[in-house]
């Protein structure tokens, strides 16, 4: 429900017998009792205290005055501002430069990935690099060891630039929760296994000049399609405790629907055999360090594949398929289905919580509520000119290094906006331009007038196309808003009926062992952390 067209960023949700009011500008929610709603509407329309008092002459005068006091105080703090935003993201060059300086000085980098090859022996039907014309293509381009070594040196410099600012407790926290880590990615990285192996050895034996950063403090991950496994690779994986992300979609018929080789043949048999080879080689490694990623491709049998994954005996995750040139599959049909099934789905989720022995059993069901952890519920402040960053800190938090050393904001981009090269250094101007273009895209009227912009998960990497940023289509935004509305209804239902579940979800999200949120060095507690997770600002 909304108020009227004057307040596109103000939404109303049922809250039992009352209502929850959400204002996107301060990202703030509060409760109005049902009989207060006509008073709020009248006040919003007139902004005239005397007129509202006169119109509600029969009401309890003292209560009415308290309410109007409250509305006026909120309005003085930027709640109930009419109209869309004048600005969602700053496009001022001074602001962007200051923001980038702050991010470089404080963001604990979460991910650094080396694309050691663009080549792949599979042609999975849903792979962007196989199917999308403007994405980087599979081709026999490999990263040299010299580039890998230079990239690792670059990463170490970035890590130490944050690490060296911290006190001993904070350093311990960083080494435990955000340890030095690189990932090998592709293409299929084992097609350039020599660089993976030598790069790992270089990283693991690097002299950091900090005696506490020892080999066992560093970690390495590797993504693979499971097409190549031999004794050399098996020993390498186990000896280096490599976190292995292995792709297998489910049962043979399900997997082979999409995961085919260059000749168009199904790849289940080789992938599954190699997964079992890892298990047989070292059962403990298999159980602890292997995570199977299954893509829940359009048309796949999710239930069947989930059962298959559950029986594997290693970690696993079922991921939704990314879509080329769009962010929502069949938005009109998805919207219709979402609206028709909302109540049923929320009831089912509540039943799952009720039946669960502990929170582990329902975390997956409620992951959509992560985004409510930062919802303001007191002391509001709103403005018509916000400075949102609807993304991670681009170019700072997550970097992918391409085969020739180019820096990219993420491994999920089309690689069309590099911002430097490890051989020549950061191209700050390109990174500022990238952030500026992104801010301009988000200052589009459809985003500035969207009440759900704080819940929009469409990040910079997903919007990047051919050297620019493209917003979702209006019909996709309709769907994304409906999904946000669904999440609000779920949030309210859980808040009212299962508050302990909401606490568990937020606790899970804040625990950096589960969820590596963006953390800023200057926001880390100065005193010992004692296992606590630092607060994000």
């Amino acid at each position: 429900m909304h108020f009227d067209d004057s307040f596109p960023l103000l939404r109303l949700f049922e809250f039992g017998d009352d209502f929850l009011v959400y204002d996107a500008k301060p990202h703030f929610a509060f409760i109005v009792e049902a009989d207060e709603l006509p008073i709020l509407r009248a006040w919003l329309n007139t902004r005239n205290r005397e007129e509202v008092l006169a119109r509600h002459a029969g009401a309890d005068r003292e209560r009415l005055s308290l309410l109007l006091d409250g509305y006026e105080k909120m309005a003085a703090r930027g709640v109930f501002l009419p109209g869309g935003l004048e600005r969602l993201c700053s496009t001022d060059m001074g602001d962007l430069n200051r923001q980038l300086d702050y991010f470089f000085a404080n963001v604990l980098m979460r991910k650094y990935v080396l694309e050691v090859t663009e080549d792949c022996n599979f042609r999975c039907r849903y792979c962007m690099n196989s199917m999308e014309e403007n994405h980087r293509r599979h081709r026999p381009a490999h990263m040299s060891f010299d580039t890998a070594r230079t990239a690792i040196d670059h990463y170490c410099g970035l890590y130490l630039s944050i690490y060296d600012q911290l006190n001993d407790d904070q350093k311990r926290f960083l080494l435990e929760e955000y340890e030095p880590h690189i990932g090998f990615y592709g293409g299929e990285p084992t097609l350039n296994f020599d660089v993976v192996r030598r790069g790992t050895e270089y990283f693991k034996t690097l002299d950091w000049g900090r005696p506490e950063i020892t080999r066992d403090k560093t970690t390495v991950s590797l993504n693979t399609n499971l097409s190549r496994m031999n004794d050399e690779i098996l020993n390498f994986l186990v000896d280096n405790d490599i976190q292995l992300f292995a792709s297998l979609d489910g049962t043979r018929d399900q997997h082979d629907r999409n995961r085919i080789d260059a000749a168009g043949r199904g790849t289940f048999d080789i992938a599954y055999a190699n997964l079992m080879r890892i298990r047989d080689f070292n059962a403990n490694y298999y159980a602890q360090k292997v995570t199977v990623f299954a893509v829940d491709a359009l048309g796949n049998d999710r239930t069947q594949n989930q059962a298959f994954l559950n029986a594997l005996g290693c970690k696993h995750s079922l991921l939704d398929q990314a879509l080329p040139d769009r962010v929502v599959d069949a938005p009109e049909a998805s919207l219709k289905s979402l609206l028709e099934n909302t109540d049923k789905s929320i009831r089912r989720k509540l039943e799952v919580i009720a039946a669960a022995g502990n929170s582990d059993a329902y975390i997956d069901e409620l992951q959509a509520l992560f985004s409510f952890e930062n919802l303001g519920t007191d002391a509001p402040y709103g403005s018509n000119k916000t400075n949102r960053v609807i993304s991670c800190p681009m170019g700072v938090d997550n970097i992918m290094i391409g085969v020739n050393g180019e820096m990219h904001i993420c491994h999920k981009t089309d690689s069309s906006m590099p911002f430097g090269n490890v051989h020549t250094g950061l191209d700050r101007e390109a990174l500022i331009r990238l952030n500026l273009d992104y801010a301009k895209a988000l200052n589009d009227s459809q985003c500035r007038e969207c009440w759900a912009h704080n819940f929009c998960g469409i990040c910079g990497a997903m919007r990047m196309k051919k050297g620019g940023f493209v917003n979702p289509l209006p019909k996709e935004c309709d769907y994304l808003r409906a999904a946000a509305e669904f999440n609000f209804k779920l949030f309210i239902a859980v808040y009212r009926q299962r508050p302990e579940a909401l606490e568990a979800i937020f606790r899970f999200k804040k625990d950096s062992k589960n969820h590596k949120t963006v953390v800023f060095a200057d926001k880390l507690p100065k005193s010992p952390l004692n296992g606590r997770t630092p607060q994000t600002p």
């Binding site: 301060p26 990202h27 929610a29 509060f30 109005v32 207060e36 308290l66 309410l67 509305y71 105080k73 003085a76 930027g78 702050y102 979460r110 990935v113 992300f245 829940d296 999710r302 995750s317 939704d320 398929q321 990314a322 998805s334 289905s337 979402l338 049923k344 789905s345 959509a368 992560f370 952890e373 519920t377 007191d378 002391a379 402040y381 709103g382 403005s383 916000t386 400075n387 949102r388 960053v389 609807i390 993304s391 938090d397 491994h411 999920k412 929009c456 998960g457 469409i458 910079g460 990497a461 997903m462 999904a483 669904f486 999440n487 808040y495 937020f506 969820h515 590596k516 949120t517 994000t536």
Partner: protein, 52 residues
């Protein structure tokens, strides 16, 4: 619980400060795999609705 919804009479107010203007990232994508994205997570919410 941090998220404690309040009624109008229970709200407190601070002096104006740029709580919304600090350039705080809203994207919490923390995938390590290269496949999952926050948008897909959002999509999965609805797709799980569809399928259940």
């Amino acid at each position: 619980m941090k998220t404690k919804l309040k009624k109008v009479r229970d709200l407190t107010y601070t002096e104006k400060k740029a709580l919304t203007g600090g350039g705080v990232p809203t994207c919490e994508c923390s995938c390590t795999c290269g496949y999952g994205t926050s948008a897909e997570a959002m999509d999965s919410t609805a797709r799980s609705v569809v399928q259940k």
